[in-house]
Amino acid sequence: MNNVILKVSNLKTYFFTSRGTVKAVDGVDFELRHGECLCLVGESGCGKTVTALSILRLFDSPPGEIVDGQISYDGLNLTNCSSEQLRQIRGKDISMVFQEAQSALNPVLTIGDQIIEQIKLHLPLNYSKAEDRAMTLLEEMGIPSAERVMSYYPHQLSGGMKQRVLIAMGLSCDPQILIADEPTTAVDVTIKAQILDIFRDLKTSRQMSTIFITHDLAVVAEIGDRAVVLYGGKDVETAPVSEIINNPKHPYTSGLIECLPDISKSTGKLASIPGTTPNPLKMPQGCAFHPRCPKAMEICSHQEPLETVISKEHRVNCHLYK
């Protein structure tokens, strides 16, 4: 159970813009274990997506650059391997599913073409074998009359279907790791439930290791094994999902959980964390969360908290737990 297949340590991805340096990811540590679903959680702009893009080095460079840290996969450090090596890994070993299915599919190619192209890129199959494989994948994703869908253009499919096509594409070459960047954000609740089902099935049937990016703690509770809470480009709390939900240590995590609407309580107003995410161009000194933190202490404004181990599986970066 404890075999780590991807290890991200002290990852720092900065964007050097004309208005200053954006430290989008500023020291993120986590590890992905075989067969688990790891959730990256946080508000918009906390560095979730950039972390994921950094793993495959998919951000625009310039302005983006990985300035420090290591991403170890299969004996390779993905932060400094050649772009050709990385291209071989993309899609075949580590693949990614994007948030907006509408724009992540090429509007002028048919679904079949896009999946087949993807399969033939990495696997030594001829056209008809690749076609069969694509069809099987689509059926596996629960798409009815897959043969017909193969000849459709993206605009002819519904949002949920497109999202499934994207997942099928991501899985087409049996990757070791699947990174899903908010795959449930752009779809309605029923489709969301179906997509989550697919991910759960993947975990049981394929032993797939997944990095699931979301801002939705309900989704985390639904499918996650462990979760990493990000804030201001740093990981602030890492723990198994049940710990995160029932025993959050970091004030930010507790804040996020209090924000979840509870149907049994009718308090009228929804809870929220006061303030907004900090301006990435001028991050607060010390702990990035201290201006919004209800439990902020004097030390928080000038000293960055170090990692504290709560239990074997539970780590938190906060001055409260020294």
């Binding site: 993309r90 994007f98 992540a104 090429n106 001829n126 000849s151």
Partner: protein
């Protein structure tokens, strides 16, 4: 081997089948523009004329001084005839005949045959030069947008220089150096006419490049070449079709203009060459200049109408 061939055929036919649907859709949209349809009809007619016409007309190079300066069928003109024996100038009436439905020029060559073979030349010039320009422009534009950085800067500044350089002067220079050979003229027009296409495809690709499906393709391991040829170019193809249609008439006119000022290839009878020959005899034989002029006018108009129609049809935002 045979299996592979089957694969290819199956794939190609599948594409054809799928494309009919898309083509049908665009045809439905284009059809609503009557002028575009008329333009298309004229172009189809012209292409047919250029391909099969020469088999039915007289030899456009055959001179016959007995029948020089004959007006088109149904027209009558007066010709002055110099009688060498009596040293007198008399006028005689000349009636157009159906043997030369569009009349003859000052050397007695059949105008219909010349117009038909001129159509061939003009269309060749238009299509080949535009083809060269479009391919060059698309590659430069897409590369510029995709690679960005200093490549983008270098290519776009080069485009700027090409744009500011007086294009006609360049053509004249090339003809001066290499002689008036139609192949060189076509090449020269093609090699100078790509700048607008490059600009437009670049701006279109710039927005495409950041679209998620390009990032997604890269995330799944696509190489730069594949992203450019499979994802960027197919997405700008409708733009390219419109640019091509709208730039063909410009190219045809450029060749005609070169011919008109006497820089055309004297070995081929393009419309510009006929027009140039006709301008000297406007008093005696107006039809020699007017007929190729009308053809040029109609051809340019047809391509422009079609281009406009296609632009509206391909634009999802336009309401037609």
């Amino acid at each position: 081997m045979i299996k592979r061939l089957q694969d290819i055929i199956k794939r190609a036919s599948q594409h054809l089948h799928l494309n009919t649907r898309l083509i049908n859709y665009y045809w439905q949209r284009t059809r609503r523009n009557k002028l575009a349809v008329a333009g298309l009809a004229f172009i189809v007619f012209l292409v047919a004329l250029a391909i099969i016409g020469p088999f039915f007309t007289l030899d456009p190079t055959e001179a016959n001084f007995e029948e020089k300066n004959m007006p088109p069928a149904g027209f009558v003109t007066e010709q002055s005839v110099y009688n060498i024996e009596t040293d007198e100038v008399t006028t005689k009436e000349v009636h157009g005949t159906w043997k030369h439905p569009l009349g003859t020029d000052s050397k007695g060559r059949d105008m219909l045959a010349m117009i038909v073979s001129g159509a061939r030349v003009s269309l060749q010039v238009g299509l080949i030069a535009t083809g060269i320009a479009i391919i060059l422009g698309t590659i430069i534009g897409v590369l510029s947008a995709y690679l960005g950085g200093w490549v983008d800067n270098a290519l776009m500044r080069f485009t700027d220089i090409m744009m500011t350089f007086p294009f006609f002067l360049l053509l004249v220079l090339i003809i001066f150096i290499f002689g008036s050979n139609l192949a060189f003229i076509v090449l020269a027009i093609g090699l100078t006419g790509w700048t607008g296409t490059a600009r437009l495809t670049r701006s279109e690709s710039l927005s495409l490049r950041t679209r998620e499906f390009v990032v997604a393709a890269k995330a799944l391991g696509a190489s730069d070449k594949r992203v450019i040829f499979r994802h960027l170019i197919p997405n700008v193809i409708s733009l390219i079709i419109v640019i091509a249609t709208l730039s063909i008439p410009g190219v045809i006119l450029a060749e005609a203009a070169l011919s008109f000022i006497g820089l055309g290839d004297p070995m081929v009878s393009s419309w510009g060459i006929i027009l140039e020959a006709g301008q000297h005899s406007l008093n005696t034989a107006w039809w020699v200049a007017v007929e190729p002029g009308i053809m040029l006018f109609l051809t340019v108009l047809a391509f422009n109408f079609l281009g406009d129609g296609l632009r509206d049809a391909f634009d999802p935002k336009s309401n037609i």
